[in-house]
Point group: D2
Chain length 162, copies 4
């Protein structure tokens, strides 16, 4: 099994900065690396960095870049780690790809936190990417949902419309 993991930034990759004052975070190396190291998969994962941004700062140019990376990779199983605020927006842009299974996932608390949901969420994406039909999905809050059937409820959970 081959899976391409693509980092775009977001909460999952946020770390506490050494240099800045105040409340700010900064986005560093892909959390996917550390999670997969603990999981010790029998396959060799490929991890690519598209960009490292809070998802409220992702531009249309960024999304086109992400789309190009997804189109260009030979693997048809892709997992994207992404900030939650605009995850559905990126999913929509990627939905023009019809011959790959693409799962977007992320975290509500950075992977560096001891109570992070990141390892579970990335696990979900890996568990689903092999068997799900081609299409673009969101893997958050214990469910993998086709992007166009997915919305966020009042408490911020990604849930199914149906």
């Amino acid at each position: 099994m081959k899976i391409t993991f693509i980092q775009t930034g977001g909460t999952i990759d946020k770390d506490y900065p050494k240099t800045k004052l105040g409340y700010a975070f900064e986005i560093t190396a892909p959390a996917a690396h550390r999670i997969l190291e603990n999981a010790n998969p029998s396959f060799k994962p490929e991890v690519i960095t598209a960009f490292r941004k809070d998802s409220t700062e992702i531009t249309l140019v960024d999304r086109r870049k992400l789309l190009k990376i997804c189109k260009d990779t030979k693997n048809n199983k892709i997992i994207i780690t992404h900030g939650t605020d605009t995850m559905l927006l990126s999913a929509k842009v990627l939905s023009v790809i019809k011959d790959k299974t693409i799962i977007l996932t992320g975290a509500m608390r950075p992977e560096k936190f001891s109570n992070s949901d990141a390892p579970f969420n990335l696990g979900m994406a890996v568990g689903g990417v092999k068997v799900l039909p081609y299409g673009v999905y969101i893997a958050m809050h214990g469910q993998i949902i086709p992007w166009d059937l997915c919305w966020r409820n009042a408490s911020g959970q990604f849930v199914s419309k149906v």
Copy 2:
């Protein structure tokens, strides 16, 4: 989506004992509870304890009890946390069930460890249980494999025969 989680013990649930001398562990409350609390799923998980044993100590009587619990539950999506040493043996016993998707998972390091693979592995099982056909599977080392196509390689990883 309804999923029944069944605890049987194993490394995933091992904790450091307060009372014993020496090297021993003890098996306590199901790790699935803590992992799911962090994941904050949009569904309400049911967590059942079948027994709490290192998997080298599971008897045929225990496995029959586990089989009965799986048969009796109304859910047809079941995730079992289990020690790795006899996971395949329990899978074989459960394989008489033909109308449910049953995934056995566990961990190489206890969930209490900061570098545990437990949250990732349970995530994989949750990601796969909804979409996989009826049958019994092993979710470990980054893959979900039908039990009868699964074996452990020299470094202890569960890998596919095909």
Copy 3:
């Protein structure tokens, strides 16, 4: 031994918010509670919240409040968790107290991070507060230093002038 722990906020107490967009943190319950629970001390700690602020936002009014709390407590062993950016400023204000041992400590990474320095730093303060003469000290980066002999070097470490 009686020790009074006082929370003022700072990195040590920062958590990832559920509600806000973007990079921001928020300050929640005192990390000292969780650290001491793990440490299981044989004494019963008293934990007081003075305020919950990033230390760049602490005002002179806040510092006078903190001074009053320190003066009013009957214990003469006080440990204050505090943001690092203005830790020395608060220490100076507190230095009018001549009959108590007061140690300010904090963290470079929130206690919620799996690689936080918070438990070690709070441990240092507890280890020193019993034996150090009356005065105000900074406990960071592996050393406990009298506040008026302490400064931060170019890499942000609190070090001794002598």
Copy 4:
């Protein structure tokens, strides 16, 4: 400030083994390394391994070796990480040294556990070693106690006789 850290094994250094069946642990690299890396001390710590044993397995020969290492080091500030079961026994053997401050510490749960007391305890030892008079001390459960005034109560805590 110069501190010599000496590893002897014990719970603090226990890791989950990859190779053994069942409940056993194994003792690996000194936890002090990882804890100090997170603490980022301004001094350069020296970490020596005397032996790696559960403290119930430490022999008189081992203790004489530990005594020799403590005598031979030029530093007069020594912190020893040690299993709790025979910590007081080793302290007694070391008490012939009259010109150094020696603190024995350890943990009730391995440093690899996310809820370990190890970082706090090592922090306590570092906080105390600089200021305590020459002698041998136990740093556990929130207190640093001269070894000959220290005993374990019914719940396993190290407490002061006085």
